[in-house]
């Protein structure tokens, strides 16, 4: 199911700035620990041991959101080597989204089960709105199987339409952290992801005196150091969350968390170590 072992490192690029090296190493460490954790869960025959349908759904969501978060953060850290912070920023916005969704689902196992069981409705919605992307036979076959499923599961078909919006999800799982972290992790990156008007100030600077326009192809305000710190922070919290939920060996998480604190204290001039999500040792929320 996963392609965790594909080669990722491109060795012809170098950056020996000590701050970059420390933050890149930290981000790489976090991404590697997440990768090992997902492999451990996925290859360890865990799924077969879970009996409750809600817990099975949650485990699948760990596979989905965990893998997506791993892929996006691994890609973002590679982009740091080329000095491309804007795309890193967009990818970390997605990683934040995966983290929020995973936490929300764990707070609402019934909803998680409902969403997983309603997967045929999700597929049908996409197929219906992109019929040209599939052969007519496939569209017809999927429509037939959906009609049958909808007849057998009218409640699920309706429940799928009552999908919870992202902002309320984030507000619930972030608690008071929402006030400070939402802006950094979602609003600010949305400026670049959706080319909002403030993106103009990130790309150009106008000297009104002589009319000289300066273009900033690699971002005027964002930098790879800040984004590497963000990768390390959010991936570490995700590792901690999954570690507590599935009660796996906590040592890799503890070591990573300690390293995060040390490196950010020494080099994280823009990213101090602070939590994005509330801390708790209780299963169903994030760890201390």
């Amino acid at each position: 199911m996963h392609d965790f072992d594909k080669p990722r490192i491109i060795t012809h690029i170098e950056n020996d700035d000590p701050v970059f090296v420390a933050l890149y190493d930290l981000a790489s460490h976090a991404v590697d620990v997440l990768q090992d954790l997902l492999k451990h869960l996925w290859e360890g025959n865990w799924y077969a041991k879970i009996e409750e349908p809600e817990q099975r759904a949650l485990f699948k969501f760990v596979g989905i959101h965990g893998t997506l978060a791993w892929e996006a953060s691994a890609a973002a850290k590679e982009l740091a080597l080329d000095g491309l912070p804007r795309a890193m920023n967009i990818l970390m916005r997605s990683t934040f989204e995966y983290s929020v969704r995973l936490r929300y689902l764990h707070k609402h196992p019934d909803y998680a089960r409902q969403q997983m069981d309603a997967l045929p409705a999700a597929i049908q919605r996409e197929v219906k709105s992109a019929t040209k992307a599939f052969s007519p036979e496939t569209v017809e076959k999927l429509a037939d199987s959906y009609t049958e499923w909808e007849r057998d599961h009218p409640d699920l078909a309706k429940a799928y339409k009552d999908e919870v919006k992202f902002a309320p999800m984030a507000r619930e799982v972030m608690g008071e952290h929402y006030n400070t972290e939402w802006w950094k992790w979602y609003s600010l990156p949305s400026i670049i992801a959706h080319s909002k008007p403030l993106a103009i100030s990130d790309t150009i600077q106008i000297d009104d005196e002589n009319g000289i326009v300066t273009l900033f192809p690699n971002s005027r305000h964002l930098n790879v150091y800040f984004e590497l710190g963000k990768i390390a922070s959010i991936v570490t919290e995700l590792v901690g969350f999954i570690t507590i939920q599935y009660q796996v060996n906590a040592r890799p998480y503890v070591e990573l968390d300690e390293k995060l604190g040390k490196v950010l204290e020494q080099y994280g001039f823009a990213v101090k170590k602070h939590r994005i999500f509330p801390a708790s040792a209780e299963p169903g929320t994030s760890p201390t």
Binding site: D3, K6, P7, R8, I10, L68, E71, A72, A74, A75, A76, E78, L79, D82, L84, R86, A87, M88, I90, L91, S94, E126, K128, S129, A130, T131, K132, A133, N179, T180, W183, S187, L188, I192, A193, H194, S195, K196, P197, L198, A199, I200, S201, D202, T203, I204, I206, G211, V213, L215, F216, P217, N218, S219
Partner: protein, 184 residues
Amino acid sequence: MNDEKAKHKASLEEMLCLLEQTLEAVRLYKPKAPEARRDIALRRWAMTLGALMLNVGRSASRLIETDDVVSVMILGRSMYEYCLKTRYFFKDNQTRRLAFDQFMTIVTSFVQGLRRLPTITDDIDAKLAASYDAWLAAGGKEDPYSGKRAATTMALALAKPNEILKDNSGDSYSHQLTTSYHIP
């Protein structure tokens, strides 16, 4: 990298080079007569959307090398939106006006966003308020969403009539919008 991937990457790089040359021409453009504020705003939008496309496009091209399909798809969605917005803003007089309206929300969004943060001190807040008032006095928009249009609205406005389809609920969509924006 296999041949097919190399071909796609080369074709993307070629387009990005053309875009870079175009952007440079726009950057160096000197109007022969004083321009309307609306035209200046439109050119700044063009440079911004072009620079974002170039930068995010180069990032996507880089990730093609490492097979980061999901991330390329996420970045591709933003690239589609940059393209959509550029074409929409240049579509007609009405959409040019919308581009200007959006341009005139820059300080509004900045100030409103920052003032929501609990870490803002009274001193900073007073400075932000002063800059906001000056901005409004210069014609800035009070509503940060002035001129904003959803991606779906822009895509449907740009689609040819035969490209606009209806789903079972009667909502309009286009194949390109779904595959480039909604599915990613």
